[in-house]
């Protein structure tokens, strides 16, 4: 039985499904739940992930079921809402997502979606009550809904597209840098001669999902994409590669080589020359900031709080490349036990066993864990403000939730992302170190 959570950071399955659908161009989520669910999402998720949603408002269609529907059922209300959503809101696909009240009442959602399809409307549905799981579960349910219900996919006899790679496991908003991270992934994969099918973000809609069967490889970049890549292997025989995290900095070369190897391409010359060019740029940035590095004492213990994919990627960069000392690494996505062991192995390998890995999504537990080490900087979320303040150390807000910054397309992975991390983490340490005038004044 899961216990209560203080300072919740992973909200419910409905929110996870909304995070996916709102990240696709032309998809209109139809919330079938009580009126507040969409506003909770807007206040607690959209606004706390560095930016805003696609509509300039909370989700634009919601059945807002009331007492009458709780007593007598809300199926007819959903039918009416769906019919009118198609008339009022522009969209290529209407995605019904359900909340707790509708599911407890037992509304027959598949039947309503079927009715809609019989009318010729492009409709899918995902059962996403909050009591069914958290955002990560919601993301998986929504991905499965699309893969199983998009009629274009079922009927597809798409010819294989050379070099096409589908990308899975980046959860919009749960990764506040998702948009930029996907763009950077696209950039580095094309540097290796591949075409990434991002599936989410600007210009990515149903059309992109139609290409899924034609891809040569499914690439999962977090544990949350594994279900999709397995499903697709089963269905289309597409091979997959699953990595626990997006690479940051020099780790990108190894990552690109692994992707190419999965496609049966070793020692790819074009890729090697791309990697060399990018590494040269990064080397120059390292050399440029060396003065700040030594002067402001960058080489100190760091703590990380975030999704496993972020923690693994950043720990590898900060410790394995920037030479910082790994301390407490708090992994906040609720991973099943086998995935936890894998994360521990990965982190152990990167950090020479120096890190303490904690799995928790509870603010109190995380606060206590941060206090056990002697970190000199925390890269975490806005929920770590109080902990960082009481430890008297700088906090870089980089994982969900982020209440203090705007994030449009900056990234935290790949080569470019490494530079951004350098700037953010470095700036926090520079700003946090005593100025010479302060020192003289003492």
């Amino acid at each position: 039985m899961p216990h209560h959570l203080e300072g919740v950071r992973n909200f419910c399955a409905l929110h996870g499904a909304l995070q996916l659908f709102e990240a696709m161009d032309g998809v209109v989520p139809v919330v079938h739940s009580t009126a507040g669910c969409g506003v909770q999402y807007h206040l607690g998720v959209t606004r706390q992930s560095g930016g805003s949603g696609p509509f300039g408002s909370p989700p634009v269609s919601s059945s807002n079921i009331s007492e009458k529907h709780v007593v007598f059922g809300g199926g007819s209300r959903l039918r009416e809402q769906l019919k009118n959503t198609v008339k009022v809101v522009k969209g290529d696909l209407y995605a019904i997502v359900t909340g707790c009240a509708a599911e407890m009442v037992g509304d027959d959602i598949p039947a309503m979606a079927k009715e809609g399809k019989e009318q010729g409307w492009p409709v899918v549905y995902a059962n996403t009550p909050g009591f069914g799981g958290d955002v990560h579960h919601g993301y998986q349910v929504a991905v499965r809904a699309l893969l199983e219900q998009l009629p274009e996919l079922a009927a597809s006899e798409t010819a294989p597209v050379e070099n096409l790679v589908n990308i899975w496991g980046v959860i919009p908003n749960s990764d506040p840098f998702w948009r930029g991270n996907l763009q950077e992934l696209h950039r580095v994969l094309s540097g290796a001669g591949l075409t990434a099918n991002l599936l989410l973000g600007d210009g990515q809609g149903v059309q992109a999902w139609r290409q899924i069967p034609g891809a040569r490889l499914n690439l999962s970049v977090s544990p949350w994409g594994e279900e999709a890549v397995r499903l697709l292997e089963e269905r289309y025989g597409t091979p997959y590669l699953s990595v626990p995290a997006l690479p940051v900095g020099f780790a990108t070369g190894k990552f690109l080589r692994a992707v190419l190897a999965a496609l049966g391409r070793d020692n790819d010359e074009a890729a090697e020359s791309f990697i060399a060019r990018e590494e040269a740029v990064l080397n120059r940035h390292f050399a440029r900031m060396a003065d700040s590095y030594f002067r402001h004492g960058f080489q100190r213990e760091f703590a990380l709080v975030g999704e496993s994919a972020q923690v693994i990627g950043l720990a590898g960069f900060l410790s394995g490349q920037l030479g910082l000392v790994p301390g407490t690494l708090a992994v906040t996505d609720p991973l099943p036990e086998p995935s936890r062991r894998e994360v521990e192995q990965h982190v152990g390998a990167i950090t020479k066993g120096a890190a303490t890995v904690v799995f928790s999504e509870d603010q109190a537990e995380i606060t206590d864990a941060l206090g056990t080490g002697s970190p000199g900087i925390v890269v975490g979320s806005s929920l770590e403000r109080a902990a960082a303040a009481s430890l008297g150390i700088p906090l870089v807000e980089a994982s969900f939730p982020i209440g203090s910054r705007l994030i449009l397309d900056r990234c935290y992975s790949g080569y470019r992302g490494a530079v951004t991390v350098l700037e953010d983490v470095g700036s926090a340490m520079v700003a946090g170190s005593p100025r010479e005038t302060d020192v003289t004044a003492q």
């Binding site: 039985m1 959570l5 419910c12 506003v39 607690g44 408002s57 529907h69 209440g403």
Partner: protein
């Protein structure tokens, strides 16, 4: 019978005939409320909107040294995160109900959550905020409250919101205020009323609260502010006050009502202190109720002169303004727009109920044809109305201001903007000036279309508002 006997107050629809879906002129609105029963309308297409749970969280999170436990699956605590990151960082938690809990009940989990949060944080009070799941299952919160209150020697306050019983979010304020007084105010004392007055401030911007407090201080009044930023002991002090002064005739109304009915604290009827004359009227109401007429008039005269000087002849003459605001706030802003020389082209108001009737009648006499749209968060209706009116300025406090701004209408958001008192006028005018003088962002935003089909804009704007079939 004490108004506090029930678990929760009656919903606004039943208590004050509140409506949340309507479109028509001010005179038609008055006619709507003229009978004994007001017709309830529903929407056949709707968009997400605030509910009582979200509004209750706003109040709970503002009480100092409190812990709020949202008794629900984890998503219902999302608004709590927003409040916590925006505010002073109150502690909030979710009981994180899963599927099994929805079948077997979860009072054990609730008990454990409250106990462990108590031991960790030693708060003055723990709020338990109910939710749709708990309301549908009729989970027993009360016995946990009774047990733990004795065991932990700690006030534990259950707030029985449902998320679906009322279509008017302001019901959540009523429900939270009901619980605060019921559990924190104690029983009525026979003592003489003291020197204190109550300032009733519900979910106001901190700067607004400070502005009002400054004005009361200048009148030489000693006051206690509830519930915003209150200490739990403030509720005990509130019941012994000699009068209650609301910062708004709407949100704190239930608190004022209960303090009057149960504890005999008179409730001063005052408009919202917004705008120069609005603030003057608020001060005048306070002054005449508390024997400070002269002082209030003098204060107003002084601050009025200063404020007018700081406005340096700013005028909204020739600008038609569209307002989309929460209840009494809309009426107050309407007066301010007139005061600044502008006209009001139309009004979207979050709900209408009998509390608004006096103002509505007066407005209908002056502007019988002014259109009132009753809606909370229904951006699609508003987009259509605003596009057809094409006002010179849009002022809104909803979550959908960015969507309306795509119509390339200069927009000002009042979410997080202080507006109360003389300082509020100066601040708001600064924002309006900027929005009207530098329109580039809004014009560029106009290149992004609204989410709606052209066909929707050709429909009548109340197409989806229908009378409820019983």
């Amino acid at each position: 019978m004490s108004p506090l006997r029930a678990k929760a107050p009656r919903i606004r629809e039943k208590r004050l005939d509140a409506i949340g879906a309507w479109l028509g002129s001010t005179s038609a609105a008055v006619a709507e409320f003229s009978g004994d029963e007001v017709v309830q309308r529903i929407r056949t297409f709707a968009q997400s909107t605030n509910d009582d749970l979200i509004y209750a969280l706003r109040i709970a999170g503002t009480i100092r040294n409190s812990v709020t436990v949202v008794h629900a699956p984890r998503g219902c605590a999302a608004a709590g995160l927003a409040h916590a990151l925006a505010g002073p960082g109150s502690v909030w938690a979710s009981t994180n109900l899963d599927e099994r809990d929805t079948i077997m009940g979860a009072d054990g989990k609730l008990r454990k959550a409250v106990t462990s949060l108590h031991h960790r944080h030693r708060p003055d009070v723990v709020f338990i905020v109910a939710s749709p799941v708990v309301a549908i299952n009729n989970d027993d919160i009360q016995s946990v409250v009774e047990e733990l209150r004795e065991e932990l020697e700690l006030p534990i306050v259950p707030i029985y919101v449902t998320g679906f019983a009322s279509r008017t979010a302001v019901t959540g304020y009523d429900t939270a205020l009901h619980a605060l007084v019921k559990y924190l105010a104690g029983s009525a004392t026979a003592e003489e009323k003291g020197e204190l007055v109550n300032l009733l401030s519900v979910a106001e911007h901190p700067a607004d609260r400070s502005e009002a407090e400054r004005l009361l201080r200048e009148l030489g009044l000693a006051f206690v502010t509830t519930p915003d930023n209150a200490d739990i002991r403030d509720f005990r002090r509130a019941i012994g006050a000699r009068a209650s002064i609301p910062l708004c005739p709407d949100a704190p109304e239930y608190l004022g009502h209960v303090l009057r009915e149960k504890y005999g604290v008179p409730l001063i009827e005052a408009p919202r202190p917004v705008g120069i004359s609005g603030t003057g009227a608020w001060l005048a109401a306070v002054g005449s109720a508390l024997g400070l007429k002269k002082e209030a008039a003098a204060l107003h005269a002084r601050r009025k002169a200063e404020t007018e000087q700081s406005l340096a002849g700013f005028s909204l003459a020739g600008t038609a303004v569209y307002l989309s605001l929460a209840a009494a706030h809309a009426f107050a802003l309407l007066e301010l727009v007139h005061e600044l020389g502008g006209t009001v082209a139309g009004l979207t108001i979050s709900h209408l109920d009998r509390l608004h009737l006096p103002h509505l009648r007066e407005l209908a006499a002056r502007l019988p044809d002014l259109q009132i749209h009753v809606a909370n968060g229904q951006a699609f209706e508003e987009a259509s109305i605003v596009r057809s009116i094409n006002p010179g300025l849009y002022i809104g406090d909803g979550l959908h201001v960015p969507q309306i701004a795509r119509l390339a209408v200069p927009a000002v958001s009042l979410e997080g903007t202080p507006v109360i008192g003389y300082g509020g006028v100066t601040g708001l005018v600064r924002k309006i000036r900027a929005a009207l003088a530098f329109r580039s962002f809004g014009e560029l935003l106009g290149r992004t279309p609204t989410p709606y089909h052209e066909a929707w804009f050709r429909r009548s704007q109340n197409w989806h508002i229908k009378q409820e079939v019983k």
